[in-house]
Symmetry: none
Subunit: 256 residues, 2 copies
């Protein structure tokens, strides 16, 4: 007899607990690796320090990321188990909004079974073509030792812009070596992924993707290519990371 945990919207940390529940459901279904649960816990810690909200510098980074994605010839969204568990629906929506993009799967803790489950999950949300699963189409990224040294010949290999939310540092560095423009979502402003990417959104992915879609749709209607290029050129990623770190460090114990 399982007493079902009831999450109430009145709980001050409702959204955070809901995300935790999504991760756990994903874990039980085999989509999330156990290491993914711990990584999510680390993210929760940074999100707490951030105030569990989208700060202004992250809003700016989301805006610039939408410009980079719209300007790209061939943008790829790279996904893993945690991304799938947290926002498979929103990732599919973003992919449809972009029109010329594609989705590629890359698992740090790879098993054929997890790959299959994740692939099926994306199919449920209408994605018919997922790169990164056909062994005959994979090629190695030089100098990268983890499982994710492989990229799809018709996916990331050809892409000019790669969106890699919740990514490992080694892989981000390898993508930069391949001269990709890299956009990431990372709650730790000091991670190697955050420091190496061209555009780092220091925020919780469940808050990011809906805002990113909104920005993509806004700029598609209202902005010229020149506007978008201006946005990109005026962006300073390190400055955004410093601002996020400042917010975390300015956290005060509230007087009761």
């Amino acid at each position: 007899m399982e007493r079902k945990i009831e999450l109430h919207e009145s709980h001050p940390r409702y959204l955070s607990l809901l995300a935790r529940e999504k991760l756990v459901t994903g874990f039980k279904r085999g989509i999330v690796a156990s290491e993914g649960l711990i990584a999510h816990g680390r993210g929760e810690c940074f999100d707490y320090l951030l105030g569990e909200r989208t700060i202004q510098s992250s809003r700016d980074a989301i805006n610039v990321a939408s410009a980079a994605l719209l300007l790209a010839n061939y943008p790829i969204i790279s996904i893993n188990g945690n991304v799938t568990a947290l926002c498979v629906d929103q990732i599919c929506r973003l992919n449809r909004s972009l029109e010329n993009s594609a989705v590629e799967i890359n698992l740090f803790y790879y098993t054929k079974e997890r790959e299959k489950l994740i692939s099926e999950e994306f199919k449920k949300y209408g994605l018919t073509r997922l790169f990164g699963i056909d062994p005959n189409n994979l090629e190695s990224i030089p100098e990268l030792e983890s499982n994710r040294r492989l990229v799809d010949r018709d996916g990331i290999s050809k892409a000019d812009v790669v969106f890699v939310p919740l990514e490992d540092g080694d892989r981000t560095i390898a993508l930069k070596r391949l001269n990709k423009k890299v956009i990431t979502v990372d709650l730790n402003p000091l991670s190697r992924t955050a420091l190496t990417s061209d555009i780092t959104i220091v925020d919780n992915i469940v808050r990011v993707i809906p805002q990113l879609i909104e920005r993509v749709e806004f700029h598609r209607k209202h902005s010229s290519e020149a506007d978008l290029n201006d946005l990109l050129e005026s962006f300073d990623n390190l400055d955004g990371l410093k601002k996020a770190l400042e917010v975390m460090k300015s956290k005060q114990v509230p007087l009761q």
Copy 2:
């Protein structure tokens, strides 16, 4: 394909990795909820910022906590899955040291099976009476919506001091409303539990309990009731939280 990891005591993060291994073992045995793994990951991150050591303000909080426990008429130690996995042995030792205390189980993610496994685990370490498991003896805490609204009529309900390490904010607030003196262990100095408790020990529970036992045994031998009351009265919990947060903020991480 399982990779066996060998832990060496020489590893700079040996104790942290050992605790993680205990959690994972507890999880595999059904003692720890998957949500408990995530919560532990969050704790690891705060512990890392703390320097994975007991800072002076936490040492002070441990000292005051031992005084509060010794002065109590009927102190209860409230335990959950993570506490069990990390330090069932030490909790039983603390309970024996206190002499007039008892242990009560309270699970945020409750299943009858987990309750049974945890109860058996405590029995292994010599605890014959665990409160919180007899449905006929449970009563509700008013205004608390989570599963842990229940307390034992002969346990927490009667207690003057409640020690609730790794506790949820809602429940801590509810215990305060019942006019209990609340002592907690929480690595996040900004959590609602940390802010609401009377005595918050910002430290890793695996480091805390042995020191708490040492302090209980020291004060029982060397301190008068007046000494202990002085200790309690001079304690400022908010000041301790501020000091812990300052330590975390002063953590330097090199930018690239």
